[in-house]
């Protein structure tokens, strides 16, 4: 453990902006949501009926979970932040842990540090201290925020604990992923996939007949939810993530003890002596294929899961009044359509994350110094940039269409109409493509104009999604809501297709890409 404290200080120094920004931003988001919800439902009746509507709408249950106490202001005001929020917290802390472990190791900087008076496990310990400490700080600050707005302290701290534990358990998962994978990119991929799986497991579990189904108990996101802040404050559930962390952290340490610096668990295999990579495009495929295939498979799986539960939505209406209400809105079929449109919308904005990851490869290839070698050959700047943009643009489109097809296939299978549902949902998902292109265009523009800010595209994506989720609750002006490209995607199936909006999005994407490419051709290489 020698040298842990200097490493903790180093990590805090490197994250002196990032960490406070996340912690303060997330806790402010919680406090402002609670405050806004209180103004939204002035009477107990309006509150209860809103909670019952959420519980009766499968699309919302799948996204956010149930309101376990429909009479509780705290429970309903935090509904969007319980499962969804725990997933965001999980992703943030996975990034932080990998940033200080595998990423440092991969860059070779840890070698420099490791040659000093630093124990072998010290970097891992330091990363866990920083990220778990930050998780606790986030929990406390969040609880203080909720309490300060005027809700019960017990519930406030139950919610704080649910977030803190989400941060802690996903830090432990990231610690294991950092030992197994040799690249930071792959380790983050594994961690984010774990968050996605945890989120999907509880979505299916929450839709089950039991309260909740057993799948929710397998999910760290589900655990955070089942603490049920403001709806029982079940503190004993907190044991589950604590036990999981107590199991995962020793695993990470024993894996670290068994491997060399820089290596993963799987020994490096020899590669081919002769190369078959034909050119810049072949290289891009080689570098991008892992990400693309993982996303394609993940989206297909997610689409199948969501598609297979869509038809059960109507049966989940647990109050007869609600059922009658929705029947009036267009019947159970209308409800299913609403659910499908909501899922396609959410999955569509998630593909924005793929678009950023794929397009950001431009910048990481530049900072790694690979571009210098490549561009000293006759390969042109334009061709090289295009080779990665193809993945960000065409790749995103393919992933979106795969999602739609998978939803259509599973839903069609369930209701015995594969031939009808596959083309219907394929077409519906196509409406999400232009917004994803805009996201890719934003990355390209940043890469051309301000390459150091490329990473800021992630912040923009989070902002777009958060504004989409909470913007109307916070009563933000319409023009702010309209800043998000996802706000202009059609709600399909069921909604109207506004070709003008789609053409506008596509046009904006084309301009962003063109300006980005033009500036990239004219700027210095900035490793």
């Amino acid at each position: 453990m020698t040298g842990t404290w200097p490493l903790v200080r180093l990590a805090l120094r490197r994250d002196r902006v990032l960490l406070p920004a996340w912690i303060i931003g997330l806790s402010l988001m919680v406090a402002s949501s609670v405050a806004a919800t209180r103004d939204l439902y002035p009477t107990q009746e309006s509150l209860t009926s809103a909670a019952e509507t959420i519980n009766a709408t499968a699309a919302l249950v799948a996204l956010y979970g149930k309101v376990y106490d429909p009479t509780s202001l705290g429970a309903i005001s935090l509904i969007k932040l319980t499962a969804f929020g725990a997933a965001i917290v999980g992703i943030v802390f996975i990034f932080i842990v990998i940033r200080h472990t595998r990423a440092e190791e991969e860059s070779g900087r840890l070698e420099l540090v490791g040659a000093g008076a630093v124990g072998r496990a010290a970097p891992l310990t330091a990363a866990l201290i920083v990220s778990m400490g930050a998780s606790l700080a986030l929990g406390v600050l969040t609880a203080l925020g909720i309490g300060a707005v005027g809700l019960a302290w017990s519930g406030a701290f139950a919610f704080g604990v649910s977030w803190a534990l989400a941060g802690i358990v996903f830090s432990a998962i990231a610690a294991v992923a950092a030992q197994v994978m040799t690249s930071a990119r792959a380790a983050i991929g594994v961690g984010v996939a774990a968050v996605g799986a945890a989120y999907a497991l509880r979505a299916v579990g929450d839709l089950g007949a039991a309260d909740p189904g057993w799948l929710s108990w397998l999910s760290p996101v589900g655990w955070s939810q089942q603490i049920r802040p403001f709806a029982g404050d079940r503190w004993s559930i907190a044991l589950l993530p604590i036990v999981a962390t107590a199991v995962l952290v020793p695993i990470a340490y024993s894996l670290r003890a068994r491997r060399d610096l820089g290596s993963g668990l799987v020994p490096e295999r020899a590669g081919p002596a002769q190369g078959a990579i034909g050119g810049v495009m072949g290289l891009a495929w080689r570098l991008q294929r892992g990400l693309f295939i993982a996303w394609a498979l993940g989206s297909a799986l997610m689409g199948m899961v969501l598609g297979s539960v869509a038809h059960t939505i109507a049966g989940l209406l647990n109050s007869p009044q609600m059922a009658a209400f929705f029947e009036a809105l267009g019947g159970s079929q209308g409800l299913t359509t609403m659910f499908l449109a909501a899922e396609i919308g959410i999955l569509g904005s998630l593909v924005g994350a793929y678009a950023i990851a794929a397009a950001s490869r431009l910048r990481s290839e530049e900072t790694a110094g690979h571009v210098e070698l490549l561009l000293s050959t006759p390969a042109s700047r334009l061709r090289w940039a295009t080779s990665h943009l193809v993945f960000a643009c065409v790749g995103s489109a393919i992933i979106i269409l795969i999602t739609g097809t998978a939803i259509g296939f599973a839903h069609g299978l369930a209701i015995g109409d594969v031939g009808g549902q596959v083309p219907r949902l394929f077409a519906a998902s196509a409406g999400q493509i232009p917004a994803a292109l805009v996201i890719a265009g934003i990355v390209m523009l940043l890469f051309g104009v301000a390459p150091r800010l490329v990473v800021g595209a992630w912040g923009l994506l989070v902002a777009f999604i958060v504004v989409g989720e909470f913007g109307s609750l916070w009563q933000l002006p319409q023009w702010v809501l309209d800043l998000s490209p996802f706000a202009h995607s059609p709600r399909l199936p069921g909604g109207d297709v506004e070709l003008g909006q789609l053409a506008l999005l596509t046009g904006i994407a084309a301009v962003l890409l063109a300006v980005g490419l033009a500036t990239w051709r004219r700027r210095d290489l900035r490793p």
């Binding site: 020899a270 590669g271 190369g275 990579i277 110094g369 690979h370 070698l373 000293s376 290489l525």
Partner: protein, 303 residues
């Protein structure tokens, strides 16, 4: 466009490059003639790598003129790159690709490499092409870039501190390769701060200091700048050498006499030594190290 007849493969005049408010190149001049091995010498941070990146069109100049193989590196980069090969100073490879894959990729981008030449170079540099780049040492990464560049049929080779990570055995192999290139009539610009390497390899030398070239010439031309070291075994102490002009640091240690001497001090010193009954005489021409130091010591700067 067509300057095939020109004797200059690189013609740089008054090159200026700024990074923000820092001026990295301050009116740099550099001429490399066709068929020569030209060493580009300077300490870390003098602007060698920046110059090479400008010559490749990876950076854009802020002033002055540049012509490489008769082309403008910025606007005609792809055409230019077809005819040159480059080894970066800090070779970064894709961690998941094997050395063989990288060599073949770069070769294909250059329009194909000669497989026999590739095999010969792999053997010469004792490089295992099946290893993933992630597992290569710095020296081995450099070898990958060297093999890729040397296997390319180019008119001009730009090598940025190519031997920095190589062991002495591999350095010797590298020297042979450069001599081969010269024999084939190729041009080489080789940046280095390893002076002995430049001394052995290069036909001409340009010394860069703080963003501009302070001296260019053949080693013979540059040697006038510094003093020859003379040492002799003498029967008795030579008389009056301390007062001779052009003779410095004269020392007598037993029967062994050493001194530094300027060109015009050689004849008087020889006379003094001969009257002191010299039985053995050794004179060393200045090494590049001394040459280099004379440019970098503030007092003994270039005359």
């Amino acid at each position: 466009m067509n300057s095939e007849s020109s004797d200059l493969v690189i013609d740089v005049r008054g090159l200026v490059k700024n990074f923000g408010h820092t001026q990295v190149l301050k009116g740099l001049d550099l001429q490399v003639m066709r068929g020569e091995v030209h060493a580009f010498l300077g300490p870390n941070g003098a602007g060698k790598t920046t110059t090479l990146r400008l010559l490749l069109g990876l950076l854009r100049s802020d002033g002055g003129s540049m012509s490489v193989l008769g082309l403008d590196p910025w606007s005609q980069a792809a055409d230019l790159h077809r005819r040159l090969a480059y080894v970066p100073g800090d070779v970064a490879l894709w961690p998941g690709l094997s050395g063989g894959e990288v060599i073949d990729l770069l070769g294909r981008l250059h329009g194909g490499i000669d497989p026999a030449r590739r095999t010969e170079l792999l053997e010469r540099f004792e490089l295992d092409p099946t290893k993933k780049a992630r597992t290569y040492s710095k020296g081995n990464r450099q070898k990958v870039a060297l093999v890729a560049a040397l296997a390319t049929d180019a008119e001009l080779y730009l090598l940025d501190e190519p031997t920095a990570g190589l062991d002495p055995l591999m350095e010797a192999q590298f020297k042979e390769c450069v001599e081969q290139l010269r024999d084939d009539g190729r041009s080489v610009l080789l940046s280095s701060h390893i002076l002995s390497e430049a001394e052995v390899l290069s036909d001409r030398v340009s010394i860069i200091r703080d963003g501009s070239v302070v001296e260019t010439g053949t080693l013979a031309q540059l040697r006038h700048l510094t003093r020859t070291t003379m040492s002799a075994t003498v029967a008795r102490p030579p008389e009056g050498v301390e007062t001779l002009t052009g003779v410095y640091e004269a020392k007598l240690d037993g029967d062994r006499f050493t001194a530094q001497v300027d060109a015009h001090g050689v004849a008087p010193l020889l006379a003094a030594l001969s009257s002191a009954g010299a039985t053995a005489l050794v004179s060393h021409p200045p090494t590049l190290e001394q040459l280099f130091l004379s440019h970098y010591s503030e007092t003994g700067g270039a005359p």
